[in-house]
Symmetry: C2
Subunit: 195 residues, 2 copies
């Protein structure tokens, strides 16, 4: 077993599912979609099969047999190993304490925004702001709705987190747009801009 690189997000999610019992890949796919994990990790069939292969290769999961339902393609069922359980907990711990910086593309966009004229930037940011506000509302609704369904708060933490970030981002962005529109920030297309 060579090296075993860190669990990728999808690998981690798959391994977490195996914690609930043996499963075949397509079943994992279904569950991930049904549980909306799709909002938290990017779930694509192709990537999932690859991720599971790696789990096996690294000794975190093993094949417990293949069956077939009628004449449908054959399914391989996997189960988690002890090493797998350990790896899962280890990785979750790591990520909780210190998830690595992720280079949001928007940061890049602002840092290259000077390639566009001020007014264009203002317009574009207004579009973004509207969109962020919509998302914030969506997440907010989702939370209150689940809450009234009596869902455990434990399972809504990620939504709360997202809500907090969205609020901060909309606030900051609204202020920025204002400063830009009111010429409180010098821009490269100002007549008196110099460097």
């Amino acid at each position: 077993m060579p090296a075993a690189a860190a669990l990728t997000p999808l690998g981690l999610s798959a391994l977490a599912l195996l914690t609930e019992g043996p499963m075949h890949p397509y079943e994992m796919y279904q569950l991930l979609i049904r549980r909306l994990k799709n909002e938290i990790v990017k779930v694509r069939p192709g990537s999932l099969y690859h991720a599971i292969d790696r789990l096996e290769r690294d000794g975190y999961a093993r094949v417990v047999g293949t069956d077939r339902d009628g004449q449908r393609p054959e399914r391989t069922t996997y189960e988690i190993t002890e090493t797998g359980r350990l790896a899962l907990q280890t990785r979750v711990s790591q990520l909780l304490a210190d998830s690595p910086y992720e280079y949001p593309e928007f940061a890049l966009a602002i840092s290259e925004a000077h390639n566009l004229p001020r007014q264009a930037v203002v317009q574009l940011l207004r579009v973004r702001l509207a969109d962020l506000r919509r998302q914030a509302e969506e997440v907010g609704d989702m939370i209150t709705q689940k809450q009234s369904d009596g869902a455990q708060r434990l399972f809504m933490l990620h939504a709360e987190h997202r809500a907090a970030l969205l609020t901060a981002e909309t606030g900051w962005l609204a202020a920025l747009i204002d400063d830009l529109a009111e010429h409180r920030i010098a821009w490269i297309d100002d007549p008196d801009f110099m460097h």
Copy 2:
């Protein structure tokens, strides 16, 4: 020229550099590092060369010649094309208005946190909180320092953005840790937890 997929972050950065004049890859690398773009995009020599090849393939940049300094490896100099300028502005516009959701790994970590006992989670989150606070302070210092250097605010926007997000995240996290530590959130290892 087939299709030309969207500029990747590194491709975009490289193209933006070519805006300032013809350059060879290593020079771009140096500049990116010196200007701390490294904090905004992941800059690795290998990826940069690939990214530049793609710029050329897609007609956004073209070779203007190769020279060599003594017996050092030969360098190829590139310049931006008109299509390239257009593509740059188009992509920046897109990203400003609507950068796609990026699946922060921490969200995944919280949503799998129930695989660990409550106290472990509290401990780990305390570590993260300390780290986030450190980062927030760093960014804050960076901003005030550059400000007193008389740097244009235009070039500090990404730092302001990051500061805003860090503040929100530390605030939310501190509250969460409290709620967890004080048992205000039911956890799977509670004696009376049920679902």
